[in-house]
């Protein structure tokens, strides 16, 4: 094995420029892929965190049919207390859940006494909500990072549009489930930066205040947001929860609950998917580059050494040894490109991190990019390149191993 390697290296060194060019091509490809994966992966993860940890949560549970009607925030489609309690007990017993937060979602009028506009609100238990949506406090750009009874957190747009600041007293007027109208004064405790997607422009009040202004005798819940301990297990947990909840049916035999993972709620999921597709495409491009460049070089190498191949075949080298020789050459070329590519690629990623690039995402400005790449990704990319290098040299190597010594020896 070592000798095959030695011969392979010697042969590659024979045409230094060609070897270097090909290896460089592979190196450049590897660098691009690594840097792209690190940037796009970090971007994607940051954005998903922004979306899930800033307002949505990892997944949500509603009464069946709520999501379809969510635009109108229907009060008649909330989970009744009993249904919620059942859900609550179920969720409490799930080890994967870090925190969950029940929400009463409702729409109403927001008035400064002088001007009135509409607002969408979430009634929450502040500590549960902050645990479930950990980035929510960081969205509070003015005022207190807390929410007490009698207080309201308002979206930035409303603050600017209506000229309202922390400390001001405002009125929320809302239509109740029975169509009566009720109002309540609130003190503005904080102003929230918008988050991307659904729910990004909602205000927040204490859940008991919501119950009061909606004149709820017993608590009804519109939505339960869930935060998992391990986000990477989200898909598996969603399936598990769906399985558990599907069995809960009402008197008509219809399911009570519906589960929505964040992907189904946020349009950003499509962007995340697109990033994944782009990553795969760039990997495919790399594969194509490696495949073609190595195959090209190996075909040339075999052609140049036909007589040599004839010689070693004549003196008794087995066909599979000849095959191994050439495949080792292709492998070495790929390995060379990969090793240098990894070094340069990881170096660039390190530099990017140190330079602290920042970028804007929608209304959020100045997010710092942290380019990271998982070691397993590096291994996968390297593995793919090496595998393709070996496969690319297969056909030329097979051709070499199958040559008739006589014909080969006659070759010029």
């Amino acid at each position: 094995m070592g000798n095959l390697f030695k011969i392979a290296i010697r042969n590659l060194s024979r045409y230094k420029r060609r070897t270097l060019l090909t290896a460089s091509l592979i190196t450049i490809g590897v660098v691009f892929v690594l840097v792209f994966i690190s940037i796009s992966g970090s971007f994607k993860n940051m954005m998903i965190a922004q979306v899930t940890d800033a307002s949505l949560g990892h997944l949500q549970v509603h009464r069946k049919g709520y999501m379809a009607a969510i635009d109108s925030l229907p009060l008649n489609m909330n989970l009744r207390l009993q249904a919620y309690k059942k859900l609550e007990n179920l969720l409490k017993s799930q080890p994967e859940i870090e925190a969950f937060s029940p929400r009463i979602k409702f729409g109403g009028m927001f008035s400064t006494f002088v001007e009135t506009t509409s607002i969408r609100l979430n009634g929450v238990y502040p500590d549960q909500e902050f645990k479930t949506v950990p980035l929510l406090p960081s969205r509070i750009i003015k005022g207190e990072k807390s929410l007490n009874k009698g207080e309201i957190m308002i979206p930035e747009l409303l603050s600017i549009g209506m000229g309202v600041k922390p400390g001001d007293i405002i009125v929320i007027v809302t239509t109740n489930k029975d169509s009566s109208v009720n109002g309540k004064k609130f003190k503005v405790s904080g102003v929230l930066e918008s988050a991307q997607g659904l729910g990004g422009r909602d205000g927040y009040v204490h859940i008991e205040d919501a119950m009061e202004v909606l004149r709820m005798e017993e608590m009804e819940i519109s939505e339960v947001a869930i935060h998992l301990k391990d986000f990477s297990k989200e898909a598996a947990f969603t399936e598990k929860l769906e399985g558990l909840l599907e069995k809960e049916v009402n008197q008509k035999g219809k399911p009570i609950y519906e589960v929505h993972p964040w992907e189904k709620i946020s349009p950003f999921y499509n962007i995340a998917r697109m990033i994944d597709v782009m990553t795969i495409s760039i990997k495919i491009m790399l594969i194509a580059v490696v495949l073609i460049s190595i195959m090209n070089v190996m075909i040339m190498a075999v052609y140049e050494r036909i007589r040599e191949i004839g010689t070693i075949a004549a003196i008794g080298t087995l066909p599979r040894k000849i095959l191994a020789m050439f495949m080792m050459e292709g492998f070495s070329l790929g390995a060379l490109g990969v090793i240098i590519g990894n070094i340069i690629g990881l170096g660039i990623i390190l530099i990017l991190n140190l330079s602290g690039l920042s970028f804007d995402f929608g209304r959020q400005k100045g997010l710092i990019l942290k380019a990271t790449i998982a070691p397993v990704d590096v291994l996968i990319v390297s593995g793919i390149v090496i595998l393709i290098s070996v496969l690319a040299s297969l056909q030329p190597a097979l051709k070499a191993s199958r040559m008739e010594p006589i014909k080969a020896l006659r070759h010029v």
């Binding site: 000798n3 011969i7 010697r10 042969n11 060194s13 024979r14 007589r307 040599e308 004839g310 010689t311 070693i312 075949a313 004549a314 003196i315 008794g316 080298t317 087995l318 066909p319 040894k321 010594p405 006589i406 020896l409």
Partner: protein, 245 residues
Amino acid sequence: MGLVVAENITKIYSVVATKVSKDYTAGEIAIRALKEVSFEIEPASFVSFVGPSGSGKTTLLNLIGCLDKPTEGSLRVAGTDVLHLDRNQSASFRGDNIGFIFQDFNLIPVLTVFENIEYPLLMVQKIPGGERKKRVLKLLEAVGMIEQKDKYPDQISGGQKQRVAIARALVTNPKLVLADEPTANLDHKTAFLVLESMKKMRNEFQTTFIFSTHDQKIVGEAEIIYSLEDGELVGKQAKGGKKNG
């Protein structure tokens, strides 16, 4: 491996050819390159096949060297019927039993002189390192190339290359060494030197040497001369007695 076990009787001969014929098709024309050639070669002989180009010398050497198969007739090399060997078996057989010397030397450019000679021991047979070094050095001395052992083929002369080739051919202790026009690319003085080396090797190792040439001056060095013309064996000459080592 399925090699035919040699019978005791035929061990005496290095090569036994019985009515060997070889046909080629060049496009639509069928050419009979060898026509029912029969001969026997004893071990440790120094044999030359001679004839004009197109007479079938190379074809015959290729058949003896198991690089090709006869269309008709039977051929036994080193006691083995070589007609039924497949590609892998042929390669193995060659590796164990036959050494080759080529007109164009055909040394591996990326290997040193030492490594070129070492090659068959490493890649064809599997001889351990210590033993390999011993054998290679011995042969380097024998062909007088010990000083150049670390040089690359492009750094030595034609004659030197051929001497390296001889060493390579012998390093596996083959029963038979085949040389197709070994001196065609050398000047006369070097040619004689090369043949001297070959003879010396034959003496030392008792290997059968078979070479082909169309050079009348060189052919005289052989002890047995077979003449070929248009694919037919037209004559055999023996010179003096065989030298036994």
